[in-house]
Symmetry: C2
Subunit: 201 residues, 2 copies
Amino acid sequence: MHQGQTHAAAYILADGWVCSYKLLRDGTRQIVDFQIPGDFLGLRSVLFRTADHNIEPVTPVEASEVMKSDLLLAFEATPRLATAVLWAASRDEAMVVEHLVGLGRRDAVERTAHFMLELTARLILVGRGSRAGFACPLTQYHLADALGLSSVHVNRVLRQLREDGLLTFHKGLVTIHNFDKLVELAEFDQAYLDHDGPLLL
Amino acid sequence: MHQGQTHAAAYILADGWVCSYKLLRDGTRQIVDFQIPGDFLGLRSVLFRTADHNIEPVTPVEASEVMKSDLLLAFEATPRLATAVLWAASRDEAMVVEHLVGLGRRDAVERTAHFMLELTARLILVGRGSRAGFACPLTQYHLADALGLSSVHVNRVLRQLREDGLLTFHKGLVTIHNFDKLVELAEFDQAYLDHDGPLLL
DNA sequence: CGGATAGTTGACTTGCGTCAATCCGCGTGG
DNA sequence: CCACGCGGATTGACGCAAGTCAACTATCCG
Protein backbone atom coordinates (compact mmCIF):
# COMPACT_ATOMS: atom_id res chain seq x y z
CA MET A 1 0.00 0.00 0.00
CA HIS A 2 1.32 3.44 -0.94
CA GLN A 3 0.72 7.06 0.02
CA GLY A 4 -1.90 8.49 -2.29
CA GLN A 5 -3.35 5.14 -3.24
CA THR A 6 -7.13 5.06 -3.47
CA HIS A 7 -9.49 2.14 -2.90
CA ALA A 8 -7.15 0.53 -0.42
CA ALA A 9 -8.50 -2.32 1.68
CA ALA A 10 -7.90 -3.21 5.32
CA TYR A 11 -6.31 -6.44 6.51
CA ILE A 12 -6.10 -8.74 9.46
CA LEU A 13 -2.61 -10.16 9.79
CA ALA A 14 -2.54 -13.91 10.33
CA ASP A 15 1.21 -14.41 10.09
CA GLY A 16 4.36 -12.37 9.51
CA TRP A 17 5.31 -8.77 10.29
CA VAL A 18 4.66 -5.59 8.31
CA CYS A 19 5.61 -1.97 8.90
CA SER A 20 3.75 1.26 8.16
CA TYR A 21 5.79 4.34 7.37
CA LYS A 22 5.92 7.71 5.68
CA LEU A 23 8.54 8.84 3.19
CA LEU A 24 10.01 12.32 3.04
CA ARG A 25 11.22 14.07 -0.07
CA ASP A 26 14.88 13.63 0.81
CA GLY A 27 14.42 9.86 0.81
CA THR A 28 14.48 9.32 4.55
CA ARG A 29 11.58 7.47 6.06
CA GLN A 30 9.90 7.31 9.42
CA ILE A 31 8.39 4.01 10.45
CA VAL A 32 5.26 4.67 12.47
CA ASP A 33 4.58 1.17 13.69
CA PHE A 34 5.08 -2.50 13.09
CA GLN A 35 2.13 -4.83 12.98
CA ILE A 36 2.40 -8.38 14.21
CA PRO A 37 0.06 -11.37 13.85
CA GLY A 38 -3.43 -10.59 15.09
CA ASP A 39 -3.22 -6.89 14.26
CA PHE A 40 -5.82 -5.06 12.19
CA LEU A 41 -4.23 -2.67 9.71
CA GLY A 42 -5.15 -0.18 7.05
CA LEU A 43 -8.24 1.16 8.78
CA ARG A 44 -7.25 4.74 8.04
CA SER A 45 -6.83 4.04 4.35
CA VAL A 46 -10.39 2.70 4.27
CA LEU A 47 -11.99 5.60 6.10
CA PHE A 48 -10.01 8.21 4.20
CA ARG A 49 -10.39 8.38 0.46
CA THR A 50 -6.69 8.00 -0.11
CA ALA A 51 -4.07 6.24 1.98
CA ASP A 52 -1.81 8.68 3.83
CA HIS A 53 0.97 6.21 4.55
CA ASN A 54 2.80 3.20 3.13
CA ILE A 55 2.65 -0.35 4.33
CA GLU A 56 5.16 -2.97 3.36
CA PRO A 57 6.00 -6.48 4.52
CA VAL A 58 9.00 -7.13 6.75
CA THR A 59 8.67 -10.90 6.30
CA PRO A 60 6.44 -12.93 4.01
CA VAL A 61 2.93 -12.46 5.35
CA GLU A 62 -0.43 -14.16 5.44
CA ALA A 63 -3.45 -11.90 5.84
CA SER A 64 -7.20 -11.66 5.28
CA GLU A 65 -8.49 -8.76 3.25
CA VAL A 66 -11.44 -6.79 4.60
CA MET A 67 -13.24 -4.77 1.96
CA LYS A 68 -14.44 -1.26 2.63
CA SER A 69 -18.10 -1.94 1.81
CA ASP A 70 -18.20 -5.06 3.97
CA LEU A 71 -16.71 -3.19 6.87
CA LEU A 72 -19.14 -0.29 6.70
CA LEU A 73 -22.12 -2.65 6.27
CA ALA A 74 -20.98 -4.66 9.27
CA PHE A 75 -20.94 -1.48 11.34
CA GLU A 76 -24.57 -0.80 10.42
CA ALA A 77 -25.61 -4.36 11.20
CA THR A 78 -23.58 -4.83 14.37
CA PRO A 79 -22.97 -1.61 16.27
CA ARG A 80 -20.91 -3.41 18.86
CA LEU A 81 -18.46 -4.32 16.16
CA ALA A 82 -18.07 -0.64 15.39
CA THR A 83 -17.35 0.05 19.05
CA ALA A 84 -14.80 -2.75 19.10
CA VAL A 85 -13.04 -1.43 16.02
CA LEU A 86 -13.08 2.02 17.57
CA TRP A 87 -11.41 0.56 20.63
CA ALA A 88 -8.76 -1.11 18.44
CA ALA A 89 -8.14 2.19 16.67
CA SER A 90 -7.76 3.92 20.03
CA ARG A 91 -5.23 1.36 21.17
CA ASP A 92 -3.33 1.98 17.95
CA GLU A 93 -3.39 5.69 18.58
CA ALA A 94 -2.18 5.16 22.14
CA MET A 95 0.82 3.27 20.77
CA VAL A 96 1.59 6.01 18.29
CA VAL A 97 1.34 8.56 21.09
CA GLU A 98 3.78 6.65 23.25
CA HIS A 99 6.11 6.38 20.27
CA LEU A 100 5.85 10.13 19.80
CA VAL A 101 6.73 10.75 23.44
CA GLY A 102 9.80 8.60 22.97
CA LEU A 103 10.97 10.54 19.93
CA GLY A 104 10.36 13.86 21.61
CA ARG A 105 11.64 13.30 25.11
CA ARG A 106 13.67 10.11 25.52
CA ASP A 107 17.32 9.65 24.57
CA ALA A 108 18.43 6.91 22.21
CA VAL A 109 18.99 4.22 24.85
CA GLU A 110 15.73 4.75 26.72
CA ARG A 111 13.84 4.95 23.46
CA THR A 112 15.27 1.69 22.18
CA ALA A 113 14.60 -0.07 25.46
CA HIS A 114 11.04 1.20 25.51
CA PHE A 115 10.45 0.08 21.98
CA MET A 116 11.70 -3.43 22.73
CA LEU A 117 9.50 -3.67 25.80
CA GLU A 118 6.43 -2.63 23.86
CA LEU A 119 7.14 -5.28 21.25
CA THR A 120 7.65 -7.83 24.00
CA ALA A 121 4.32 -7.00 25.65
CA ARG A 122 2.45 -7.17 22.36
CA LEU A 123 4.08 -10.44 21.33
CA ILE A 124 3.36 -12.05 24.68
CA LEU A 125 -0.33 -11.24 24.13
CA VAL A 126 -0.40 -13.29 20.95
CA GLY A 127 1.77 -16.09 22.30
CA ARG A 128 4.87 -15.27 20.28
CA GLY A 129 7.17 -14.06 23.01
CA SER A 130 7.95 -14.10 26.71
CA ARG A 131 9.76 -11.96 29.24
CA ALA A 132 12.90 -13.78 28.15
CA GLY A 133 12.70 -12.56 24.56
CA PHE A 134 11.24 -13.21 21.12
CA ALA A 135 12.05 -13.91 17.47
CA CYS A 136 12.55 -10.58 15.74
CA PRO A 137 12.80 -10.31 11.94
CA LEU A 138 13.80 -6.63 11.97
CA THR A 139 17.14 -5.30 10.75
CA GLN A 140 19.01 -2.47 12.44
CA TYR A 141 17.85 -0.28 9.56
CA HIS A 142 14.26 -0.98 10.52
CA LEU A 143 15.03 0.00 14.09
CA ALA A 144 16.78 3.17 12.95
CA ASP A 145 13.83 4.26 10.83
CA ALA A 146 11.40 3.51 13.63
CA LEU A 147 13.42 5.18 16.38
CA GLY A 148 14.40 8.27 14.43
CA LEU A 149 18.12 7.40 14.66
CA SER A 150 20.84 6.50 12.20
CA SER A 151 21.62 2.82 11.77
CA VAL A 152 25.12 3.50 13.03
CA HIS A 153 23.80 4.90 16.26
CA VAL A 154 21.32 2.07 16.68
CA ASN A 155 24.28 -0.27 16.55
CA ARG A 156 26.07 1.70 19.28
CA VAL A 157 22.93 1.67 21.44
CA LEU A 158 22.48 -2.08 21.03
CA ARG A 159 26.09 -2.60 22.01
CA GLN A 160 25.58 -0.58 25.15
CA LEU A 161 22.44 -2.50 26.11
CA ARG A 162 24.37 -5.71 25.55
CA GLU A 163 27.38 -4.57 27.58
CA ASP A 164 25.09 -3.46 30.39
CA GLY A 165 23.64 -6.96 30.52
CA LEU A 166 20.14 -5.84 29.64
CA LEU A 167 19.33 -7.23 26.20
CA THR A 168 20.93 -8.76 23.11
CA PHE A 169 19.74 -8.40 19.54
CA HIS A 170 21.43 -10.96 17.36
CA LYS A 171 20.55 -13.17 14.43
CA GLY A 172 16.84 -12.45 14.49
CA LEU A 173 16.58 -13.12 18.19
CA VAL A 174 15.99 -10.64 20.98
CA THR A 175 17.08 -11.98 24.34
CA ILE A 176 16.17 -10.05 27.46
CA HIS A 177 18.68 -10.60 30.24
CA ASN A 178 17.23 -8.31 32.85
CA PHE A 179 13.59 -7.48 32.33
CA ASP A 180 13.15 -5.43 35.49
CA LYS A 181 16.15 -3.20 34.94
CA LEU A 182 15.02 -2.64 31.38
CA VAL A 183 11.56 -1.57 32.57
CA GLU A 184 13.20 0.78 35.04
CA LEU A 185 15.53 2.26 32.42
CA ALA A 186 12.79 2.78 29.85
CA GLU A 187 10.27 4.00 32.39
CA PHE A 188 7.92 1.50 30.77
CA ASP A 189 4.30 1.45 31.96
CA GLN A 190 2.10 -0.70 29.82
CA ALA A 191 -1.16 0.94 30.91
CA TYR A 192 -1.44 2.50 27.47
CA LEU A 193 -1.78 -0.92 25.88
CA ASP A 194 -5.09 -1.44 27.78
CA HIS A 195 -4.95 -5.19 27.69
CA ASP A 196 -8.47 -5.66 28.96
CA GLY A 197 -10.17 -5.31 25.60
CA PRO A 198 -13.12 -3.23 24.51
CA LEU A 199 -15.63 -2.04 27.02
CA LEU A 200 -19.10 -2.80 25.68
CA LEU A 201 -21.64 -0.88 27.74
CA MET B 1 -7.86 15.23 33.23
CA HIS B 2 -4.87 13.25 34.53
CA GLN B 3 -2.99 10.06 33.66
CA GLY B 4 -4.51 7.21 35.63
CA GLN B 5 -7.80 8.96 36.21
CA THR B 6 -10.85 6.71 35.87
CA HIS B 7 -14.39 7.61 34.84
CA ALA B 8 -13.19 10.43 32.62
CA ALA B 9 -15.67 11.98 30.22
CA ALA B 10 -15.21 13.23 26.67
CA TYR B 11 -15.77 16.82 25.58
CA ILE B 12 -16.58 18.92 22.59
CA LEU B 13 -14.67 22.19 22.70
CA ALA B 14 -16.80 25.23 21.99
CA ASP B 15 -14.22 27.88 22.74
CA GLY B 16 -10.61 28.15 23.86
CA TRP B 17 -7.55 25.94 23.40
CA VAL B 18 -6.43 22.90 25.41
CA CYS B 19 -3.40 20.64 25.14
CA SER B 20 -3.00 16.92 25.77
CA TYR B 21 0.36 15.70 27.00
CA LYS B 22 2.27 13.02 28.86
CA LEU B 23 4.65 13.61 31.74
CA LEU B 24 7.91 11.74 32.25
CA ARG B 25 9.50 10.94 35.57
CA ASP B 26 12.21 13.58 35.21
CA GLY B 27 9.55 16.26 34.98
CA THR B 28 9.79 16.91 31.25
CA ARG B 29 6.62 16.69 29.27
CA GLN B 30 5.67 15.97 25.70
CA ILE B 31 2.63 17.69 24.31
CA VAL B 32 0.88 15.36 21.90
CA ASP B 33 -1.60 17.76 20.43
CA PHE B 34 -3.53 20.95 20.92
CA GLN B 35 -7.28 21.01 20.47
CA ILE B 36 -9.05 24.04 19.14
CA PRO B 37 -12.73 24.97 19.01
CA GLY B 38 -14.80 22.29 17.30
CA ASP B 39 -12.51 19.43 18.34
CA PHE B 40 -13.72 16.31 20.09
CA LEU B 41 -11.39 15.26 22.89
CA GLY B 42 -10.96 12.60 25.50
CA LEU B 43 -12.33 9.74 23.41
CA ARG B 44 -9.50 7.44 24.47
CA SER B 45 -10.09 8.08 28.12
CA VAL B 46 -13.71 6.99 27.65
CA LEU B 47 -12.97 3.80 25.74
CA PHE B 48 -10.10 2.83 28.04
CA ARG B 49 -10.83 2.30 31.69
CA THR B 50 -8.24 4.82 32.76
CA ALA B 51 -6.95 7.90 30.99
CA ASP B 52 -3.44 7.44 29.60
CA HIS B 53 -2.68 11.12 29.19
CA ASN B 54 -3.28 14.54 30.70
CA ILE B 55 -5.37 17.34 29.32
CA GLU B 56 -5.15 20.91 30.52
CA PRO B 57 -6.45 24.24 29.33
CA VAL B 58 -4.20 26.71 27.51
CA THR B 59 -6.80 29.44 27.72
CA PRO B 60 -10.11 29.61 29.58
CA VAL B 61 -12.38 27.17 27.77
CA GLU B 62 -16.02 26.45 27.13
CA ALA B 63 -16.95 22.86 26.39
CA SER B 64 -19.81 20.36 26.41
CA GLU B 65 -19.36 17.17 28.38
CA VAL B 66 -20.26 13.88 26.71
CA MET B 67 -20.84 11.05 29.16
CA LYS B 68 -19.54 7.57 28.49
CA SER B 69 -22.92 5.85 28.75
CA ASP B 70 -24.59 8.37 26.44
CA LEU B 71 -21.86 7.94 23.88
CA LEU B 72 -22.02 4.15 23.82
CA LEU B 73 -25.83 4.19 23.70
CA ALA B 74 -25.74 6.62 20.82
CA PHE B 75 -23.47 4.23 18.94
CA GLU B 76 -26.02 1.43 19.35
CA ALA B 77 -28.89 3.64 18.24
CA THR B 78 -27.11 5.41 15.39
CA PRO B 79 -24.42 3.33 13.74
CA ARG B 80 -23.54 6.15 11.41
CA LEU B 81 -22.59 8.22 14.38
CA ALA B 82 -20.15 5.51 15.38
CA THR B 83 -18.65 5.59 11.90
CA ALA B 84 -18.36 9.35 12.07
CA VAL B 85 -16.62 9.23 15.45
CA LEU B 86 -14.33 6.55 14.07
CA TRP B 87 -13.48 8.88 11.22
CA ALA B 88 -12.75 11.68 13.68
CA ALA B 89 -10.51 9.37 15.68
CA SER B 90 -8.68 8.40 12.51
CA ARG B 91 -8.11 12.02 11.62
CA ASP B 92 -6.71 12.52 15.10
CA GLU B 93 -4.40 9.59 14.67
CA ALA B 94 -3.28 10.92 11.29
CA MET B 95 -2.28 14.17 12.98
CA VAL B 96 -0.37 12.36 15.69
CA VAL B 97 1.40 10.32 13.00
CA GLU B 98 2.43 13.43 11.12
CA HIS B 99 3.67 14.92 14.39
CA LEU B 100 5.68 11.75 15.00
CA VAL B 101 7.26 11.97 11.55
CA GLY B 102 8.29 15.52 12.35
CA LEU B 103 9.96 14.55 15.62
CA GLY B 104 11.73 11.62 14.02
CA ARG B 105 12.88 13.03 10.72
CA ARG B 106 12.60 16.81 10.47
CA ASP B 107 15.02 19.35 11.89
CA ALA B 108 13.89 22.08 14.25
CA VAL B 109 13.07 24.67 11.59
CA GLU B 110 11.12 22.37 9.29
CA ARG B 111 9.30 20.91 12.27
CA THR B 112 8.25 24.29 13.58
CA ALA B 113 7.13 25.45 10.15
CA HIS B 114 5.12 22.27 9.65
CA PHE B 115 3.48 22.63 13.02
CA MET B 116 2.44 26.20 12.29
CA LEU B 117 1.00 25.21 8.93
CA GLU B 118 -1.03 22.41 10.45
CA LEU B 119 -2.47 24.82 13.00
CA THR B 120 -3.22 27.28 10.23
CA ALA B 121 -5.08 24.69 8.17
CA ARG B 122 -7.11 23.53 11.15
CA LEU B 123 -7.97 27.05 12.25
CA ILE B 124 -9.04 28.07 8.75
CA LEU B 125 -11.50 25.15 8.81
CA VAL B 126 -13.26 26.56 11.85
CA GLY B 127 -13.07 30.14 10.69
CA ARG B 128 -10.44 31.29 13.16
CA GLY B 129 -7.53 31.88 10.85
CA SER B 130 -6.42 32.55 7.31
CA ARG B 131 -3.32 32.10 5.18
CA ALA B 132 -2.15 35.39 6.60
CA GLY B 133 -2.07 34.14 10.18
CA PHE B 134 -4.10 33.60 13.33
CA ALA B 135 -4.42 34.45 17.01
CA CYS B 136 -2.25 32.03 18.95
CA PRO B 137 -2.44 31.79 22.76
CA LEU B 138 0.58 29.48 23.05
CA THR B 139 3.82 30.39 24.81
CA GLN B 140 7.25 29.40 23.53
CA TYR B 141 7.27 26.82 26.33
CA HIS B 142 4.19 25.21 24.82
CA LEU B 143 5.89 25.09 21.46
CA ALA B 144 9.03 23.60 23.00
CA ASP B 145 7.09 20.83 24.73
CA ALA B 146 5.14 20.06 21.56
CA LEU B 147 8.12 20.12 19.22
CA GLY B 148 10.51 18.18 21.43
CA LEU B 149 12.88 21.14 21.70
CA SER B 150 14.13 23.40 24.48
CA SER B 151 12.43 26.74 24.84
CA VAL B 152 15.75 28.42 24.13
CA HIS B 153 16.03 26.67 20.82
CA VAL B 154 12.42 27.43 19.91
CA ASN B 155 13.31 31.06 20.36
CA ARG B 156 16.27 30.75 17.99
CA VAL B 157 14.12 28.95 15.41
CA LEU B 158 11.42 31.62 15.58
CA ARG B 159 14.06 34.26 15.11
CA GLN B 160 15.34 32.51 12.00
CA LEU B 161 11.85 32.16 10.53
CA ARG B 162 11.32 35.86 11.19
CA GLU B 163 14.65 36.89 9.67
CA ASP B 164 13.94 34.75 6.62
CA GLY B 165 10.70 36.65 6.12
CA LEU B 166 8.52 33.59 6.54
CA LEU B 167 6.57 34.04 9.77
CA THR B 168 6.46 36.06 12.96
CA PHE B 169 5.24 34.87 16.33
CA HIS B 170 4.69 37.83 18.60
CA LYS B 171 2.24 38.90 21.28
CA GLY B 172 -0.21 36.09 20.72
CA LEU B 173 -0.30 36.62 17.00
CA VAL B 174 1.15 34.43 14.28
CA THR B 175 1.66 36.33 11.04
CA ILE B 176 2.57 34.40 7.93
CA HIS B 177 4.59 36.50 5.51
CA ASN B 178 5.21 33.93 2.83
CA PHE B 179 2.79 31.03 2.87
CA ASP B 180 4.16 29.27 -0.21
CA LYS B 181 7.78 29.33 0.85
CA LEU B 182 6.73 28.02 4.24
CA VAL B 183 4.84 25.13 2.64
CA GLU B 184 7.89 24.37 0.53
CA LEU B 185 10.24 24.50 3.52
CA ALA B 186 8.07 22.29 5.71
CA GLU B 187 7.19 19.91 2.88
CA PHE B 188 3.61 20.39 4.02
CA ASP B 189 0.94 18.27 2.34
CA GLN B 190 -2.40 18.54 4.02
CA ALA B 191 -3.79 15.30 2.56
CA TYR B 192 -3.55 13.73 6.01
CA LEU B 193 -6.11 16.16 7.35
CA ASP B 194 -8.73 14.63 4.95
CA HIS B 195 -10.92 17.69 4.85
CA ASP B 196 -13.75 15.95 3.07
CA GLY B 197 -15.34 14.52 6.17
CA PRO B 198 -16.54 11.02 6.94
CA LEU B 199 -17.43 8.68 4.15
CA LEU B 200 -20.77 7.08 4.97
CA LEU B 201 -21.31 4.09 2.70
C1' DC C 1 7.64 50.15 42.93
C1' DG C 2 8.59 45.15 43.47
C1' DG C 3 7.83 40.53 41.56
C1' DA C 4 5.93 37.39 38.58
C1' DT C 5 6.03 35.44 33.78
C1' DA C 6 7.67 35.44 29.03
C1' DG C 7 11.07 36.24 25.85
C1' DT C 8 16.08 37.03 24.17
C1' DT C 9 20.85 36.31 23.57
C1' DG C 10 25.75 34.54 24.12
C1' DA C 11 29.20 30.91 25.51
C1' DC C 12 30.03 26.38 26.05
C1' DT C 13 28.86 21.24 25.93
C1' DT C 14 27.10 16.96 24.06
C1' DG C 15 24.37 13.37 21.73
C1' DC C 16 23.83 11.84 17.59
C1' DG C 17 24.78 12.10 12.44
C1' DT C 18 27.99 11.45 8.63
C1' DC C 19 31.67 9.38 6.31
C1' DA C 20 34.49 5.70 5.62
C1' DA C 21 36.58 1.39 6.29
C1' DT C 22 36.05 -3.37 7.52
C1' DC C 23 33.94 -7.75 8.57
C1' DC C 24 30.78 -11.53 8.33
C1' DG C 25 27.50 -14.90 6.42
C1' DC C 26 25.11 -16.35 2.57
C1' DG C 27 23.67 -17.32 -2.10
C1' DT C 28 24.96 -17.64 -6.89
C1' DG C 29 27.28 -18.87 -10.78
C1' DG C 30 31.57 -19.92 -13.24
C1' DC D 1 34.39 -25.79 -4.81
C1' DC D 2 35.92 -21.51 -4.74
C1' DA D 3 35.29 -16.49 -6.04
C1' DC D 4 32.56 -12.96 -5.93
C1' DG D 5 28.97 -9.81 -4.60
C1' DC D 6 25.73 -8.14 -1.52
C1' DG D 7 23.04 -6.94 2.52
C1' DG D 8 23.64 -6.45 7.26
C1' DA D 9 26.54 -5.43 11.21
C1' DT D 10 30.48 -3.09 13.48
C1' DT D 11 33.78 0.40 14.65
C1' DG D 12 36.56 4.85 14.64
C1' DA D 13 37.20 9.84 13.50
C1' DC D 14 35.14 14.02 13.02
C1' DG D 15 31.36 17.67 12.67
C1' DC D 16 27.08 19.91 13.78
C1' DA D 17 22.37 20.68 15.57
C1' DA D 18 20.39 21.29 19.61
C1' DG D 19 20.80 21.29 24.82
C1' DT D 20 22.38 23.66 29.06
C1' DC D 21 23.67 27.44 31.83
C1' DA D 22 23.39 31.95 32.82
C1' DA D 23 22.55 36.70 32.38
C1' DC D 24 19.59 40.19 30.84
C1' DT D 25 15.21 42.70 29.02
C1' DA D 26 10.27 43.51 28.50
C1' DT D 27 5.68 43.46 30.09
C1' DC D 28 2.08 43.07 32.96
C1' DC D 29 -0.15 43.36 37.45
C1' DG D 30 -1.12 44.10 42.30
